[in-house]
Homo-oligomer: 364 residues x 2
DNA sequence: TCCTCCCATGTTTAGTAAACAAGCGCGAGC
DNA sequence: GCTCGCGCTTGTTTACTAAACATGGGAGGA
């Protein structure tokens, strides 16, 4: 994507709806800029493919650029429903990149072939790449890796591919979910998978089977559902299953929150009470999970931590004198207890009911 | 001075020509507020006698108020010519007060009896007092001290009065001046005193005689002049002396810069060249000293340091469990070498010719 | 071709708009 | 007459920007 004239900070400012000063501060990781505003600026930078003037020769130490490739091949998972955790990834990366004197630029690819992504990297004035691997295959990863830049992939994981990954620990997460269900005494534990095939979804499903065996539990084939991974799609598919006479399990682990939302809505409409009749746990802890009826118990993995670790690993690779062995890192999960799995945990009433959105992020 | 209606931060903001947010930040010692702006706000606070709402009951630990009494009994020395170092005192106090979680309020008294000053203190919701003692007598100090608040006096010094003082070290200063003159080989060293009687002026004169004796030099009675301490007054008085056939000494130490400015102007008009015919050194290092013709060699005592130490001592007194013995502190002087005393000292060219005015003051 | 000047681009500081919090005063209801 | 609730006023805080400043590049002139 080329522009006919040279872009300046003022163009980015206009595109992002902020001042040139704000753009400068965001690009340099300075000032008190909210996450919302910083995201807007970085999105504009990516959209317009702005390249700062200061990219002249690799200068020692600080001031280098890392490029985050936000790759949405088909949009079945990387879409507006997930923009929240894209933002969280960027927050984690941005903060750590700034701390290490990198500029983080964000480039989005939607519906484009991976060859176009690879092409965009050739000769780019950057030091390293962090790629969102949610919808990437092994071949995609090898192609991007092959360009030659130090690269880290996040939100995906291939243990036989010679590349660097930072992902959530699906194993740990699923184990926690099943343990929770077991603590309720449930025997028939169901799994709601996604039609869409992503590595994490597959890892999650594999982990489900593995850990059910670990808990000494059999999985009924009919208890493993596969539905569309958009809200409407999940709702529609669940209704169809219910109308077709689905024999409900005691509880279901949904492979992500969006699916859980659609799933619960269809259940409720069918007269199935959550969690009285069937217990539900999701994955991702989207903000909406706190406000669904009932509120959703869900797995949270800190995407800021993933972003932070991605930059950390990438920086090490960039600064390494010689070729480094691949690094694969998994970040542990937390189970956020709410209402949908059955047993409310009393939470202390917060002293300040309202908290200002987008608080200043800690400097370190 | 009373107002008919309750003052708010918005009134102070209007008076100071800033926003209410700025006033709030200044009063709470927060934000990046330039020295210039902070002074404007504090002067408006003093002028309008604004009392913050939050003065309700002495709260433990931080958030107490210190009151700076800017007392100008007759204005012969505490006047607009000296507003610069009043600001410096306030800067030093303000910075340290903020660091120790005090609010520093400034109250001006011009031409009012000390009884009015004392009266204003009775029952005031403050923790301690710092008083500008330039024009105060011993009795004045005993009266203010007698109100009962922990009190520190600055810019004056009485060694037999049971009170706390932070002043410049006149002895040290005068010794440095005389040493400088002696390094030029001068034998007849004159002193230009002020008609006005302040403690520091008297201390300076006493130090002059004492240190002349210390250097083994006699003082000719005719070499000690006494003139008005305003610019015009010093000029007029000096002209009168010259027209009356003054036998000039080799050099003169002027008791303050204003006097030095008027003195030099009259000398120049009379055809006496400074420093070729007579060498001059002043006291105070007012900003104008750098731009007079010739630029004035002068004594500088850090008034920020005095302000800082005043708050430090006052805080110690406030927090002391029992009555403390009086503290008297003298701050050393520096001689700022310029042209008026004869021997130019080459100064290195600054790397940055222009510096933004009122840079952010260091946090610590 | 080189040098100087001007303009454009990026940076930084300090001040504020606006959102928010807290407190006070007034009015209504019991 | 007292208490409670609501609305308004006052003070606070955050994050964004105006404007001053710095730097670099380009154009024009010598």
């Amino acid at each position: 994507m080329k522009t006919t004239k040279k872009l300046t900070i003022r163009d980015i400012a206009q595109a992002a709806g902020v001042s040139p000063a704000t753009v400068s501060l965001v690009l340099n990781g300075k000032g008190d800029i909210s996450g919302v505003t910083r995201k807007r600026v970085l999105e504009a930078v990516a959209r317009l493919n702005y390249v700062p003037r200061s990219l002249k020769g690799g200068n020692e130490g600080g001031g280098d650029t890392l490029r985050f490739l936000k790759i949405s091949k088909h949009g079945h998972t990387v879409n507006r429903d997930h923009s929240v955790f894209i933002s969280d990834y960027i927050d984690g990366m941005s903060a750590e990149a700034t701390r290490r004197n990198y500029t983080l630029e964000v480039v989005s690819f939607e519906g484009q072939p991976i060859s176009a992504v690879a092409e965009s990297l050739a000769g780019a004035p950057i030091s390293g790449v962090i790629a969102l691997g949610t919808e990437l295959t092994e071949d995609d990863i090898r192609l991007i890796q092959g360009i030659g830049f130090p690269t880290v992939f996040i939100d995906t994981f291939y243990d036989v591919v010679d590349a660097n990954f930072v992902d959530m620990n699906n194993e740990d997460a699923v184990y926690k979910v099943l343990s929770r269900f077991r603590s309720h005494g449930f025997e028939r534990i169901g799994f709601v998978a996604s039609h869409v095939d992503t590595t994490n979804f597959r890892l999650r499903q594999d982990a489900f089977f593995k850990n059910m065996a670990r808990h000494g539990l059999k999985v009924r084939e009919s208890d493993v559902l596969s539905i569309e991974s958009t809200y409407d799609g999940a709702y529609d598919d669940t209704r169809a299953l219910l109308e077709g006479g689905l024999d409900l399990a005691d509880c279901y682990f949904c492979t992500n929150d969006i699916i859980a939302y659609g799933f619960m809505k269809a259940l409720k409409e069918f007269g199935v009470r959550v969690p009285a009749d069937v217990s539900i746990i999701g994955f991702d802890n989207l903000p909406q999970s706190a406000t669904t009826e009932p509120s959703l118990t869900t797995i949270e993995v800190s995407k800021r931590k993933i972003g932070y670790l991605a930059v950390t690993i990438l920086d090490d690779i960039i600064n390494a004198a010689e070729s480094q062995p691949s690094v694969k890192m998994l970040v542990g999960a937390d189970l956020v207890l709410r209402a949908s799995d059955g047993q409310d945990v009393p939470r202390p009433m917060p002293l300040q009911p309202k908290v200002r959105a987008a608080r200043r992020q800690p400097a370190e």
